[in-house]
Assembly symmetry: C2
Homo-oligomer: 265 residues x 2
DNA sequence: CAGGGCTGTTCCTGTCTGCGGAACAGGCGC
DNA sequence: GCGCCTGTTCCGCAGACAGGAACAGCCCTG
């Protein structure tokens, strides 16, 4: 380590490109519009650098400049790429229609989530008629320890990943967020036993959810189907009903991904 | 070429970033998975360059490497950005629910399209129960001259843009595609008069559509709402009915974008 | 209305980065 | 088992990029 080659594990990384990608990831739901200085400060790089990057991104449609405010927001090219990604995500293609019919039957908002690093990402969202305004959105990343989908996925991963999540710290979001490693492990054990996960306001107060895992042909849990709604509507009875129905949906999607139930373990 | 400053109109463009963005845009619905060599050939750059770019993109979740085939596909980060973009697109936010209720009433697939350069981009898609499998997808770019939404938008743009579209050439896709500039101008005139546009298989055989323009508070036409379906279901009668209903939806979205009908022109 | 303090934008220069050719490695199919 | 095709690594030179500083607009504020 004291050698001249730091060997930080990853040599070939393009500097300007990396910065550009970090620029793109500065944009968020809460801050969809940013100025040059703001981004430069946040990333700790020069204003002119950011300006050059934004100009290049704009020329390719990845960001859009508001000529009056001279601030930048994301451009339609990112949507084009997102659309291509979705249409080619097998779990999305196979799940979409099943999710739709679920929503039609129960009129509660449903998501499809997949694992990405130490987060879940929503790859599909179908809203119920009762508008649950903008709690989540397509592509949204959430932690693994405080959502039902996160736990439904986490419960079936290698111990190494679970430990990594714990090592990174179980951030508290609400009163009911699980922040104690021991308790998390117990809950994950429950989830493995009963086959589904729940959350009662663990990420956001007043928002409950139920989730079941989805497996692919390698038998690995790659995602989760989840129902979200206001806690007051999620009575224990309803949770039980939703869970039972969700399990069917989860199994069906898994089957379509090539998963089959083994006779004997 | 013999001068030192080519002054090609746009100086400050980051080379590596530009190449990287072009790499991303190589992925498409038809080719969601690409290899290094393939991309390098297509872009006319070295294999090692592409490899370095892909590695950097992968490290940030913009592409994903399939470890077995060693080929690359888009990563979930593009979906996250797409979701942020959508949620903050005013036309999407205001239009979504109106589109949903339209689909519930008529059970035909509906899109929301906006103008981007010389193309339309679909920013929203709500499918009818009758699955019209994958004709289009979110973020899809289409030409302006051969779709109903494209024409509905084009008809109300400055003459300069219309001429530019013609100058670029009216590519033929089917037997009914309008390829004659004169004829296009006449059709646009019709559209301005009757307030909506139609297409009968102009982009794809057997697929018809009807579209109406959407204006924002500057009174500019910024997008279009469009109904798509198989030609055999789009009888003249049905087209008339759909158009009448769509006009209401278009007006309502426009109003929500701050557009108001002026008393006298 | 004029000034200050913000922005975004442009210019410039030295340094170190990123380009591409060629060599290496690994897998698949003939 | 051999070639041929991939993806990956190495390396040296050229020139592209980072960032400081100067410029230019805008919007408040006084």
């Amino acid at each position: 380590m004291q050698g001249q080659t730091p060997a930080d594990g990853q040599e070939p990384a393009l500097r300007s490109l990396t910065t550009a990608l970090r620029v793109l990831q500065c944009f968020s739901m809460e801050e969809p519009e940013l100025g040059v200085t703001e981004i430069a400060l946040r990333l700790g790089v020069g204003k002119s650098t950011v300006h050059r990057i934004l100009t290049t991104l704009e020329r390719n449609g990845f960001v859009r400049k508001d000529e009056t405010t001279r601030r930048y927001r994301l451009g339609l090219s990112v949507l084009t790429l997102g659309g291509i990604l979705m249409s080619n995500l097998e779990i999305y293609r196979e799940g979409q229609h099943l999710l739709e019919s679920f929503v039609n039957r129960f009129d509660e908002t449903v998501h499809l989530a997949v694992l990405e690093g130490l987060s879940t990402v929503y790859v599909s969202k179908i809203e119920s008629k009762h508008p649950v305004p903008m709690l989540t959105h397509l592509g949204r990343k959430n932690p693994l320890h405080c959502t039902s989908s996160g736990k439904a996925i986490l419960a079936f991963q290698e111990d190494e990943l679970i430990q990594e999540v714990i090592r990174r710290g179980l951030t508290r979001y609400t009163r009911t967020t699980i922040t104690d490693p021991e308790q998390l492990l117990l809950r994950l054990e429950d989830i493995r036993r009963q086959g589904f996960a729940t959350s009662e306001g663990e990420l956001r107060d007043g928002v409950s959810s139920v989730a079941v895992p989805v497996r692919d042909y390698t038998r690995k849990v790659v995602g989760a189907v989840t129902v979200v709604g206001p806690t007051y509507r999620f009575t224990p009875d309803k949770v039980r009903t939703l869970a039972r129905q969700l399990l069917d949906v989860g199994r069906e999607i898994s089957t379509r991904l090539g998963y089959y139930v083994r006779r004997s373990p």
